[in-house]
């Protein structure tokens, strides 16, 4: 286990370094001048040049790269070009919001998706199966910003059960109210994915020899499904959940904007439209870290779920 972790950590460091370099180059290749964005459309050429100098973006690229890497190693991600606040402070201020939304959506997705997928599989080509398949297809094909607006119109405007601006915190009730709709919006998409994967994995497992043997020796059907089949079917589900976690974070961008919830997604869109190089760099590194950590966790969970996998 220890050797496995060290190996994965080394991979993670190499990946991070590659991403740092790539991000540094990519954000500067994109046309658009942060100084012009900050100064507005009335700025004259001299004012733009003065601001570029003040921001340090007029320096040679290599010099900027070296100071960026040196800063990154010291844990200094620089200062946002637009707000003048440290990148790390801005990111850390909103990171918990994104993590919280992602975690709740994931749990919601799993709680809905796994039983639904199993139910569809054991009722293959019957009504429950058709019903579940159509439902998950709808879930997969619905753009998150459309479902978000529909949820708001229904539950926030017509029924007034939840607020439109989902950024309250304080009492547990307020927390629940502000996370419910965004989490349902993302959770349903996740549930759709998980339902489909669970269904197909279950179908495959149900045809295995050991399931037939269990049935032959008279093990009750419920025990076969829940203990023998589902546990094995969950292995690919865990992989998919790990992979889709990054998609979930991507989808959270749109969800955060429509529900007006703070988060990494909103931060990255703002940084992109304002060409805030420093912020973009910091954000990309955080995203990469999340993906790397999630992949590592997926591998570990794999071993827990499937004893045949050895962490060596």
């Amino acid at each position: 286990m220890g050797a496995f972790l060290v190996k994965r950590l080394m991979f993670a460091v190499v990946t991070l370094f590659a991403v740092l370099t790539l991000v540094f180059i990519v954000v500067r290749i994109v046309p658009g001048d942060p100084a012009l964005v900050i100064l507005g459309d009335q700025a004259d050429a001299q004012a733009i040049a003065a601001l570029q100098k003040r921001l340090g973006i007029d320096r040679p690229l290599f010099e900027q790269y070296v100071s960026f890497l040196a800063g990154a190693l010291r844990g200094d991600w620089g200062t946002s070009l637009v707000t003048g606040r440290p990148v790390l402070v801005e990111v850390m201020a909103v990171l918990p919001w994104t993590l919280e939304l992602t975690a709740v959506s994931l749990v919601l997705g799993a709680v809905i998706g796994v039983p639904l997928g199993a139910w569809a599989a054991i009722n293959r080509n019957r009504m429950p199966d058709y019903f579940t398949r159509i439902l998950s297809l709808i879930g997969l094909s619905f753009p998150p910003f459309v479902s978000a607006i529909l949820l708001l119109i229904g539950f926030a405007l017509a029924l007034r059960w939840f607020p439109v601006i989902s950024s309250n915190r304080g009492t547990p009730w307020e927390w629940f109210q502000s996370i419910a709709l965004p989490a349902v919006n993302l959770g349903l998409i996740m549930a759709a994915y998980i339902t489909r994967v669970t269904r197909s994995a279950m179908l495959e497992v149900m045809q295995e020899d050991y399931v037939r043997t269990a049935r032959a020796k008279g093990v009750p059907w419920r025990v076969i499904v829940w203990r023998h089949a589902l546990r094995n079917a969950l292995i690919p589900v865990v992989t998919i959940v790990g992979l889709y976690l990054s998609i979930l974070i991507g989808n959270s961008v749109l969800t955060e904007i429509v529900f007006n919830r703070p988060g990494l997604g909103k931060l990255i869109i703002g940084a992109l439209s304002q060409r805030d190089y420093m912020m973009l760099q910091g954000m990309m590194v955080i995203y990469t870290l999340i993906v790397v950590v999630v992949n590592m966790l997926t591998d570990i969970v794999y071993a827990v779920v499937d004893p045949r996998v050895k962490l060596a």
Binding site: V30, D33, I38, L39, G40, A45, E90, A156, V164
Partner: protein, 516 residues
């Protein structure tokens, strides 16, 4: 028994008084942005920042709340002012007892001098070039400020009003916090004071109890960042916000105005859409081609397309209502046949193809597509390359687009628009570049002469001539003006009639309140 009755009566009275006690004193505003940026009035030039900063800062003078015309200037921190006959020396007498926010002490001439010098310094101000004509700013005594100019300028008062660099900052706070710190905790003298900033969520302001015009009726303003148009609309309908910036769409206005309890207001300064034609590039170097383009564009049709209630037809190369605009300028009329004939005369009987780099912003793109359709009828193909907004701004300044659609409002004096868009000093890709995309230089003499002319009638006549020359040369085709749109709940009384706001958002004054 009697005691019980008394108690019951008191409780009933309290219950009846309930609604009056519960009258709202917190104004929640929805702004289309991810963040308001640096909260320093001398650095922030974006719409979200300007609207907010306007509630915290004063100028030496101001335009009356709800107005946008410079002829509505009235005293603000200064109670009176005089100028020398040649317009080079200005003396301002300050009010006594104006207090800086957060117990920062009295605002005196020392603060005013500091503030204007700060606005004129390119290291601390985005607007330093506006103060290029300033020679020195002095504190004559505690309540008198004297400004000496190198040369007279069209509107000195415009440089010392509550707009851009004219916003007065308090010296003690600005020096103590430094440039970076001040942008996070600004201190002015206005009706509302900075209280809290929460990233991606809101800025909170609280009433300034020592405001020199009296304590504001509202206690608090929550300025929420809500980038999604749909979410802002829904939040307003649900009563979670009271005032919001709208969409520049007629359909939005119609829908919102019909919603019970909501009001929509359209106000100036209007942003004018102008098609700038790069006269250095063929075939646009041929005046007949440029005239053909001007004849091919139907301003009335575009106004119908953009919405008659939220837009109006352009009248000149300077937006209508500015001081010095030629309101009856000889713009070329819509005439497709004339356009075709001119193209033939220019040697292009089979039409021409022009290239335009254009922003993907939906409102501006819709306009450009309508213009594209109109030009097509005259045999002019417009190839539009859509790019993201920051890319658009960079590339048009690199002279990469033959045709540039620019939509902008400026300080409402003809000099600003004429200088930035049509003076040769402002030609793009030059060291003094601003936004002259057409490479126009036919009216330099008139624009320069008008800037220092002290006789107002002569000054206006010079600007009129400049506009006529630019129109005759067809450096650009002015098409349409779009008004600012905001919506608010009908129980909000702004305290004035909203006809305009230079800071692009409704002023929230000491008199703004909820009626219920």
């Amino acid at each position: 028994m009697r005691k019980t009755w008394l108690l019951g009566g008191a409780m009933a009275a309290l219950l009846c008084a309930g609604p009056a006690l519960a009258q709202k004193t917190t104004l929640v505003v929805g702004m289309q942005t991810q963040d308001a940026g640096v909260l320093d009035p001398h650095l922030n030039s974006g719409t979200p920042g300007k609207a907010l900063l306007n509630w915290m800062f004063n100028g030496l003078v101001r335009i009356k709340p709800g107005q946008a015309s410079p002829d509505q200037i009235e005293p603000d921190i200064a109670e009176s002012w005089t100028s020398s006959p040649d317009g080079k020396e200005w003396t301002f007498k300050l009010r006594q007892g104006v207090q800086c926010h957060h117990d920062g002490g009295e605002f005196t001439s020392e603060d005013a001098v500091y503030s204007l010098n700060r606005a004129a310094n390119k290291d601390s101000s985005t607007f330093s070039s506006d103060y290029a004509a300033f020679d020195k700013v002095e504190a004559v005594d505690k309540y008198t400020v004297k400004i000496t100019l190198k040369n007279a300028i069209p509107s000195l008062l415009g440089q010392v009003m509550n707009y851009h660099g004219g916003n007065m900052v308090c010296k003690k706070a600005a020096e103590a916090l430094g440039k970076d710190g001040f942008g996070k905790k600004p201190a002015g003298t206005g009706p509302f004071m900075f209280a809290e900033y929460v990233p991606q969520q809101y800025v909170k302001l609280v009433a300034n109890p020592k405001y020199f015009r009296g304590e504001p009726k509202l206690k608090e303003i929550i300025y929420r960042f809500i980038p999604s148009d749909a979410a802002r609309d829904l939040a307003l309908q649900a009563g979670e916000i009271d005032l919001m910036i709208g969409r520049q769409e007629q359909a939005w206005v119609d829908r919102t105005a019909k919603t019970a309890g909501l009001k929509v207001v359209a106000f100036g300064p209007a942003e004018m859409s102008v098609i700038h034609l790069n006269m250095t590039q063929p075939p646009l170097d041929n005046i007949k081609v440029r005239q053909a383009i001007a004849h091919a564009i139907n301003r009335a049709g575009i106004q119908q397309f953009r919405g008659p209630a939220i837009s109006r037809q352009a009248v000149s190369v300077v937006p209508s209502g500015y001081f010095g605009t030629h309101e009856t300028a000889p713009l070329l009329p819509h005439d497709v046949n004339k356009a075709k004939a001119l193209l033939t005369e220019a040697g292009f009987p089979n039409g021409i193809t022009l290239k335009a780099i254009h922003t993907t912003l939906p409102g501006m793109m819709g306009f450009m597509e309508a213009v594209q359709a109109q030009l097509k009828r005259a045999g002019i193909n417009l190839d539009i390359t859509p790019v993201e907004h920051p890319t658009f701004h960079q590339q048009i300044r690199q002279d990469l687009s033959q045709v540039v659609h620019f939509q902008a409002a400026r300080f409402p004096i003809a000099d600003v628009y004429l200088t930035q868009f049509f003076h040769s000093r402002s030609i793009v890709k030059t060291p003094t570049a601003v936004t002259n995309f057409s490479h126009c230089k036919v009216a330099d003499a008139e624009i320069d002469a008008a800037r220092t002319e002290q006789d107002k009638a002569k000054q206006v006549a010079l600007w009129k001539t400049a506009q006529e020359k630019i129109i005759a040369e067809v450096c650009a085709v002015p098409v349409n003006e779009m008004l600012m749109l905001w919506a608010y709940r009908d129980n909000l009384d702004l305290g004035y009639e909203l006809k305009g706001s230079l800071n692009l958002g409704p002023p929230v004054t000491e008199n703004t309140r909820f009626t219920r």
